[in-house]
């Protein structure tokens, strides 16, 4: 991929990702509403919400928090750009994790106990989801011999065939990343949580919009991650991603919020069985297959 292409891809991601993710959020809200036998909001409601948040008053408990939030947005975008210009998968994962850590630091900057507990839970969620993301990078490496996203998506063979465990594991942690029940511990899309709005409690107006925006960039990046498994067949990829997203909505609407202990334990077990299991099988297959 030459420089011009890279810049174009980066710009396309920066502009199109929020639009796409916002529409996805709109569809999500309509489908959720229908699953609850409600009519639900208009499709563009997430954008209305975002613009309204940007217009609201800026109230700061601690200005340091806002600096950290910009770090969250910036590093999430950097991770996404790195991914969509076909860069190094490991840098993508670490930049994403760094972004989340900035978010956590932002929440710790305020004195509120709700915000602190939310931040602690966000760290636990990171602990639950990061192993699987790193394992999946290893999986891609073992399968394709490269950490470069560009090399992975230009391969002619369908990676889902040899990495089904990785895919399942990623779908599992996607629930954590998308903040869906039963894993919406740190903060939730729904209002009623014991720690109020958890990690986002002490942010207001435009800063909530920044969080939402960063979350949208993150969503598209994670869906891009899943796209890699189907890269040679784009239509199959779109179908698979739609199916995955639908399953996430269904899980959100059919589960209670669980305890952090359960989330951590189950995601590690799932990572170990599906992710590491897949890796071990793949490793032996590639040993046996190639001289």
């Amino acid at each position: 991929m030459n420089l011009t292409h890279a810049i174009l891809a980066a710009l396309l991601y920066i502009v199109a990702a929020p639009v796409l993710a916002g529409l996805l959020a709109g569809v999500d809200r309509i489908i959720s509403a229908r699953m609850q036998a409600r009519i639900g909001p208009p499709l563009l409601q997430p954008f209305y919400d975002l613009f309204k948040l940007f217009q609201k008053e800026r109230i700061a408990v601690n200005k340091t928090g806002h600096f950290f939030l910009l770090g969250y947005l910036l590093f999430t975008i950097i991770a996404g750009v790195e991914f969509f210009i076909g860069g190094d998968l490991l840098i993508v994962i670490f930049a994403l994790a760094l972004g989340s850590v900035f978010f956590v630091l932002g929440a710790f900057a305020a004195g509120s106990p709700y915000s602190h507990i939310g931040a602690e839970r966000e760290l636990i969620q990171l602990m639950a989801s990061e192993p699987m993301l790193i394992l999946s990078a290893m999986g891609f490496y073992v399968a394709t011999g490269s950490f470069q996203v560009h090399d992975i998506w230009s391969r002619p063979d369908l990676l889902i065939v040899i990495l089904p465990g990785m895919f399942a594991g990623l779908v599992y942690v996607l629930t954590i990343k998308l903040r869906k029940s039963p894993f919406d511990l740190a903060t939730s899309h729904h209002a009623h949580q014991e720690i109020v709005k958890g990690i986002t409690t002490e942010f207001s107006g435009p800063y909530l919009a920044v969080i939402e925006l960063a979350h949208w960039y993150e969503t598209i990046l994670l869906l891009g991650f899943l796209y890699l498994f189907f890269a040679p067949w784009p239509w199959l990829a779109v179908l698979a991603l739609a199916a995955v997203y639908f399953l996430e909505i269904l899980a959100d609407n059919t589960n209670a919020r669980l305890y952090w202990q359960w989330v951590l334990r189950s995601s590690w077990i799932f990572t170990a069985v599906a992710g590491a299991g897949n890796l071990v099988v793949l490793y032996y297959l590639s040993r046996g297959g190639t001289p």
Binding site: I31, A33, R34, M35, Q36, A37, R38, I39, G40, L250, N253, T254, N255
Partner: protein
């Protein structure tokens, strides 16, 4: 009954393919019943400005002005108990089954009452009606 952990999935998927239970208010409204306690209405032609509703209203939402010949109600203070309807001697008050429309400012709903006390001869009745409206003798009469 079988015990399996995913019962909600069935409910959610059924809902997804059914008509939603909610209605897009205010474009579509739910039907009201004949008995629904919506708001107090007055047939001003029958009103004799006797002040009983004013005295009996538990929240003091009704204000009757005899000299000014008006009957007024604060819709936001009214609790739709219907007690005024029960005590009205002329049965000119009634409970409508439609709710008051939303308002952005508090205001009294004022109705002009055409009632004129017939000059000399019926002068006593309003005079005697006024003491009758004070709680003690009226409640005994009930």
């Amino acid at each position: 009954m079988t015990k399996h952990p995913l019962k909600m999935t069935k409910v959610a998927l059924e809902n997804l393919f059914q008509k939603p239970a909610t209605v897009p208010y205010p474009a579509v409204r739910k039907p009201v019943y004949a008995a629904t306690r919506g708001r107090i209405a007055i047939e001003e032609a029958k009103c004799i400005l006797c002040l009983i509703c004013d005295k009996k209203c538990p929240t003091g939402a009704i204000k009757v002005d005899r000299p000014g010949k008006t009957w007024a109600i604060d819709r936001l203070l009214c609790i739709q108990c219907g007690y005024c309807v029960e005590v009205c001697p002329k049965k000119c008050l009634g409970m409508e089954n439609l709710y008051s429309p939303p308002v952005s400012a508090k205001a009294m709903d004022v109705v002009n009452v055409p009632f004129t006390p017939p000059p000399p001869k019926p002068k006593p009745p309003p005079a005697s009606a006024t003491p009758a409206a004070t709680p003690a003798p009226e409640a005994g009469k009930e």
